[in-house]
């Protein structure tokens, strides 16, 4: 079991969700987040004065998956979220110690 955390451009969310559904991913948690990396912020203008917006809006997906699906899911997100321009985001993969389905009390891979 692993946890995929993907930070993507908000307008790519629908495509990424489609791509994940196609390879059999049945659930995900989506959070609207703000942040910056190499893209840095951008400047906006308000009543004649420029200012920098450091934190840009992004969408974060958290998906817990069994090991055999991880590689396919990472590929799916990578392909769907890619625009080739700076600011496309990151995919992080990390191990999970335990997963519990609250309704049934199932544990491990069956609960994912």
């Amino acid at each position: 079991m692993k946890l995929i955390t993907a930070i993507i451009k908000p307008f790519k969310l629908e495509e990424v969700k489609q791509a994940l559904s196609e390879i059999g991913v049945e659930g995900m948690t989506v959070t609207e987040v703000k942040g910056f990396g190499r893209q840095k912020g951008h400047t906006e203008i308000y009543r004649g004065s420029e200012y920098t917006v450091d934190f840009l809006p992004k969408v974060k997906l958290d998906i817990a998956l069994p090991d055999e699906l991880i590689a396919k899911a990472v590929d799916a997100i990578e392909n769907a979220a890619k625009t080739g321009k700076i600011g496309d985001g990151k995919i992080l993969v990390s191990p999970i110690d335990e997963v519990i389905r609250i309704r049934t009390g199932e544990r491990g891979d069956t609960a994912v």
């Binding site: 203008i45 308000y46 009543r47 004649g48 004065s49 200012y51």
Partner: protein, 450 residues
């Protein structure tokens, strides 16, 4: 300045009224031939008063839209209170101080406004094309406007209690003084610096609906208040650069500006002081042309200077055009009204940038729209209308602006010494809604910039 006092004698003679028709009773008047026309005229003044009332909702929307969501309850509370205390103060004292009849031309004490309802000399065309009540309610709506102008400029940092005291004093006692100088038949109305008319009367100062008497008055009172308060926390970086504090709702700004435009048809249209078809329609057209041109002036200049077309500047431009045409809406030509508006619109952009640069923090641009463009509109009458005097316009508008500025400065100094005028830094950061009122405008929403 010694010359001013020689006009005072003229001021009192100018008030002599023509012999008016006398009626035995109000019932006799209703059966007279002039009653139908009087009814139409009077109704138009009342509709206009209602339109000017609507401008207070316009100011409320504009000011809350251009400020942060954490201060919305406070802005709305101020706007609500100003209308109510302003009207009461005007009834108790202000109206009669502004229209005292025969007086020394500079200052008259006020008094309770009400007259005898059965007095036919006040309720028929023996008085005016409208009744005394209509006269009062139209002027009362105007008076509250002057203090509302200040509320936007001092937003997001002024202490509520101090502001309310300031607003009551301004509307009740100060606005009627400068108002009496012109509309009450005071020294400005018979100013002879700019020469005499063909009939041998002084040309006088001219301010049709109040570019100076209402708008420059409010704008320069606001400037003094802004100087006394200082900028909002975080408006300037340590190295002195502007760090804009974003308004929380552009749709509200839009609604506010268009409500003000609508209300202006009463503000200027009603200032014809009758429903005279030619007069009112003329004023409607000059007012509209100037508003549209003001928008174009502001949009063009802001697009050129700032590289982006700025919505809030365009809306400020509309208001600038409206303020600009207000002094001469009934005498300025159609083509000239477009020029007046264009220049007002360009002026407001430059002025907003200028005041930002010199660290006069005015969140809504009130000093620029009402103060600077109020002066411009008053001067424009002297430029575009041959029968008017530029010198008179200059003296009049500067006298009103200077008086408003100085009195506002003194009021703010006194309030600062007695009770303080600014909320604590902690309250300002958290928002005046919680600090002053203990509630929020948008409890179900999360602010992105708090």
């Amino acid at each position: 300045m010694t010359g001013i006092f020689t006009f005072l004698a003229l001021a009192s003679t100018a008030l002599a009224q023509d012999a008016a028709p006398a009626y035995e009773s109000y019932e006799a008047f209703t059966e007279s031939s002039g009653f139908a026309l009087f009814t139409i005229n009077n109704l138009w003044i009342l509709v206009s008063a209602a339109l000017v009332f609507l401008m207070h909702l316009g100011f409320s929307c504009l000011e809350s839209g251009l400020t942060q969501s954490k201060n919305t309850v406070n802005i709305l509370f101020k706007n609500m209170s100003i209308v109510c205390v302003g009207i009461l103060g005007y009834a108790l004292y202000g109206f009669n101080a502004m229209y005292p009849g025969d007086f020394n031309g500079i200052f008259a004490a006020g008094s309770w406004f009400a007259v005898d309802n059965s007095d036919v000399s006040m309720m028929t065309d023996a008085y005016a094309p409208y009744t005394w009540w209509s006269d009062f309610i139209f002027q009362a709506m105007f008076a509250a406007t002057a203090a509302t102008i200040v509320s936007g400029a001092v937003a997001e940092r002024i202490k509520l209690s101090s502001f309310l005291i300031y607003a009551i004093l301004l509307v009740t006692f100060i606005y009627p003084i400068t108002g009496s100088w012109q509309w009450g038949g005071g020294w400005l109305s018979s100013l002879s610096l700019g020469g005499m008319t063909a009939d041998g009367d002084p040309i006088g100062f001219y301010d049709f609906a109040g570019s100076s008497l209402v708008h420059a008055f409010g704008g320069f009172a606001a400037l003094a208040a802004v100087i006394m308060l200082g900028p909002r926390l975080g408006k300037y970086t340590k190295d002195g650069r502007v760090r804009p504090i974003l308004g929380h709702s552009m749709p509200l700004v839009m609604i506010g500006a268009f409500l003000l435009w609508l209300g202006w048809y009463g503000f200027n249209g009603g200032s014809v002081l009758s429903a005279d078809p030619r007069g009112v329609s003329y004023v409607f057209v000059t007012t509209t042309l100037a508003a549209a041109a003001g928008c174009m002036g502001a949009v063009t200049l802001s697009w050129m200077l700032l590289k982006k077309p700025d919505l809030s500047m365009g809306l400020n431009g509309i208001l600038a055009g409206l303020v600009g045409i207000t002094a001469g809406a009934d005498v300025i030509g159609m083509a000239s009204s477009i020029v007046v508006g264009l220049i007002a619109g360009a002026l407001v952009v430059i002025s907003v940038l200028f005041f930002d640069k010199i660290k006069m923090d005015d969140p809504v641009g009130a000093i620029s729209v009402h103060g600077i463009c109020g002066i411009w509109g008053t001067l424009a009458v002297g430029i575009f209308v041959a029968e008017k005097s530029f010198l008179n316009q200059l003296v009049g508008s500067l006298a009103i602006a200077a008086f408003a500025f100085i009195v506002s400065l003194v009021l703010m100094l006194a309030l600062k010494a007695i009770m303080g005028i600014r909320v604590s830094a902690e309250e300002e950061t958290e928002g005046l809604d919680i600090g002053e009122h203990g509630n929020e405008a948008y409890p179900d929403f999360t602010a992105a910039h708090k």
